[in-house]
């Protein structure tokens, strides 16, 4: 018979203190693409030309990267390292105006419930990696349960709907029905760049990004977003930290 508890104790505590304390991803990890200030037009053009999801938009002062469109392939930084690079800053979540109201209501309810929240997941057409990374926030390294975050099997118990993947034609209805089945107030998180913007998918082959079908409160870019990025996104949804709006530089 295996001694699981003894084995766990021998390994000590693996769990991160994030979001109460800082945490770092490896140096090389491609999380957030940035444009160097003062990069020449020529270099920016070269990088923008290889961007496969049109995430790089030209502006008067150089370029703006639309994080929700970026799928972190790293091509811009490889082809035009003079203009682009990736940092390991994993706090990528974006949010809109509507969230404030939902948050206040949600907070009122979760306080009554001892501040725990329950999430319901719907796969709208992901590439399977978003599911495994969402699963990973419950592993001992991240242990989302310590933050009062739990999964629920029923939409009736859910506070947060996490939708992964670009929405396929066949998943439009199941997504809508899950959303409708949830009690208000409800927060919707589009998990991953594909769910947020549709990235590389052709418009007629899929139905579109999640916010075309249900109102989205928080977008968590990444292909897939790392577990720390997901926890940050959930923290943003709960109003513990703030996040920029989509489209902001």
């Amino acid at each position: 018979m295996s001694n699981w508890i003894g084995r766990g104790l021998r390994r000590g505590i693996l769990t991160t203190n994030y979001p109460f304390q800082g945490e770092a991803m490896p140096e090389r990890y491609r999380a957030r693409p940035i444009v160097f200030p003062g990069a020449t037009n020529e270099h920016i053009e070269r990088g923008a030309a290889v961007c496969l999801s049109a995430a790089i938009q030209r502006s008067e002062r150089g370029a703006i990267i639309n994080m929700q469109r970026c799928f972190q392939c790293g091509e811009c930084a490889r082809i035009a390292p003079e203009a682009f690079t990736f940092t390991n800053d994993f706090e990528l979540a974006l949010t809109g105006d509507s969230i404030e109201m939902v948050r206040a209501e949600l907070r009122r309810r979760t306080r009554a419930l001892g501040r725990s929240i329950h999430i319901r997941h719907v796969d709208c057409g992901s590439d399977a990696s978003c599911e495994q990374e969402l699963q990973a926030i419950f592993n001992p390294f991240y242990d989302a349960n310590r933050l009062g975050i739990f999964l629920t099997a029923s939409p009736r118990h859910a506070d947060i709907l996490v939708a992964t993947g670009v929405v396929t034609h066949a998943m439009v209805e199941p997504l809508r029905r899950t959303y409708d089945a949830m009690p208000s107030p409800k927060v919707v998180i589009a998990l991953g760049s594909a769910a947020s913007s549709g990235t590389i998918f052709a418009d007629d082959d899929v139905a579109g990004p999640v916010d075309r079908f249900v109102p989205v409160d928080v977008k968590v870019p990444g292909t897939p977003p790392a577990p720390l990025t997901i926890i940050h996104g959930l923290w943003v949804a709960l109003g513990h930290v703030t996040a920029p709006r989509p489209g902001a530089a």
């Binding site: 090389r28 392939c73 993947g165 052709a202 007629d204």
Partner: protein, 461 residues
């Protein structure tokens, strides 16, 4: 059609039916029948007659059924004589049809999906049941069909490997390697040894984390919370190693046509020197734990049993096939790995969930060995061929042993990508899920599903 007859003849002579796909040109539709005899693939091609009708071979070759169905749904080829069964590609009308059936039937029929409890990919099962036992199970898939094969057409060779990585985001290196090798075959390129070593390491580490994922989910099904948590922790260590070396937790964005996008072999070696020992130690330690926990094993032994004959009839691949004593491992036949492999890690004859778990355990050990061999070989030189050499025209296919089993890519390249077809291991194995269920009870469903360890997104594409 002659090609179909030839494939059928080969199957009756003992070949494995591998694949049937359609290539639509401007004026005609061509069917490719793929069979495998002793590890050698044979493609038989034939043009669909103007009537659009072809004789079905599914009556003789059950493995051909799903492929005929997909070709019918996507390319409107009619397969005469095939028994009527619901289309496998989703359309809204089918929902109503299924619901009607679910309501009007005498046997209680349960719709399970497409949104299920927990963090799972979308797929639906129509379960006919008489109480606790499974009577029959009908899969309804392709909810996640994203038109990715079509997305390849006309795509540049820079973009195309990323599309391959989107087909299965959890095994991106297997898909990118298979796609890139197909184009490399068209162009007559041999990738440099340093790139081959890096690809080997990425694909084998992928096998480790996906097998651990399957085992962790089995432990969770068996209410072994601590064992499951620790297995997921062992998996997390593999992702951390990959993200340190490649900049991505699944190793994406590393492989390109002609080799590697950047010289990551050095980074892999540095990360491995620091971490591989502990990653391996933790993985092997949880494996010992899992296979020493009788309460878990009791749920696996005898569950979801598949006979050798069934696996052969349906053309099963990967750990599912090896767990039933059927050996087909692309690593044995298509030697592109850095260090050649001459024997499968394990063959189990029992055919149950336990056998599949045992095969995964042995393969994890073997993958660590292959990773070390590639690291120790430490080849020097370039990581990618010159871009000018990437040109050519023609058709080619390759196979790579992905964690789920044999993965095939067919590429027709003529200055641009004309057609890319993908036969994933998950697509080949789902038909086996159906015969594995009857005789088991409801609570065995998740054990059987997780012992298969298949990826829905690479099935639906």
């Amino acid at each position: 059609m002659e090609a179909a007859d030839r494939a059928m003849r080969r199957v009756t002579e003992g070949a494995r039916f591998v694949w049937l796909f359609c290539e639509a040109g401007y004026t005609d539709r061509m069917l490719h029948y793929v069979t495998d005899l002793d590890g050698k693939l044979e493609f038989a091609r034939g043009v669909v007659p103007e009537s659009g009708e072809v004789a079905s071979i599914a009556g003789v070759v059950p493995a051909a059924r799903w492929y005929e169905q997909e070709v019918h749904n996507r390319f409107a080829v009619r397969f005469n004589g095939s028994t009527d069964h619901p289309p496998i590609i989703k359309s809204p009308e089918q929902d109503a049809e299924k619901l009607r059936r679910a309501l009007g039937d005498e046997v209680s029929t349960v719709l399970y999906g497409p949104v299920r409890s927990g963090i799972v990919e979308s797929a639906c099962w129509i379960i006919e049941t008489a109480g606790e036992d499974f009577v029959a199970v009908h899969p309804s898939m392709f909810f996640k069909h994203r038109g990715l094969e079509k997305r390849f057409e006309g795509a540049t060779l820079e973009l195309a490997p990323f599309i391959a990585e989107h087909i299965s985001g959890v095994t991106p290196s297997s898909h990118a390697t298979a796609f890139c090798r197909a184009v490399e075959t068209v162009c007559g390129i041999d990738v440099p040894p340093r790139a081959r070593a890096a690809r080997t390491i990425l694909v084998e580490l992928e096998r480790v984390h996906q097998h651990l994922d399957s085992l962790a989910k089995l432990a969770d099904d068996g209410s072994l919370s601590i064992g499951s948590a620790q297995t997921f922790a062992a998996k997390e260590r593999v992702h951390r190693l990959l993200s340190e070396a490649t900049g991505h937790r699944f190793g994406r964005g590393s492989i390109c046509v002609g080799g590697m996008r950047s010289d990551i072999f050095g980074a892999l070696r540095t990360a491995a020197e620091r971490e591989l020992d502990i990653v391996e130690r933790e993985a092997l330690s949880v494996l010992r734990g899992l296979f020493g926990t009788q309460s878990l094993l009791d749920r696996l032994i005898g569950t979801g049993r598949l006979s050798r004959e069934t696996v052969q009839a349906y053309g099963g691949v990967g750990p599912v096939a090896r767990g039933s004593g059927v050996v087909n491992d692309a690593r044995l036949t298509d030697g592109w790995l850095y260090a050649p492999l001459d024997a499968p890690a394990a063959i189990d004859l029992n055919g149950d969930a336990m056998a599949r778990a045992r095969v995964r355990e042995a393969e994890i050990r073997q993958s660590f060995r292959l990773v070390r061999e590639a690291l120790d070989g430490s080849p020097t030189g370039k990581s990618c061929v010159d871009q000018e050499r990437i040109q050519g025209k023609g058709r080619a296919h390759t196979r790579v042993e992905s964690p789920q089993g044999e993965l095939l890519y067919f590429v027709h390249y003529d200055e641009a990508l004309v057609r890319v077809a993908v036969r994933s291991a998950s697509f080949a194995n789902w038909p086996l899920f159906v015969p594995s269920l009857p005789g088991n009870i409801f609570t065995d469903f998740s054990f059987i599903e997780h012992s298969f360890g298949l990826v829905q997104s690479e099935t639906d594409r």
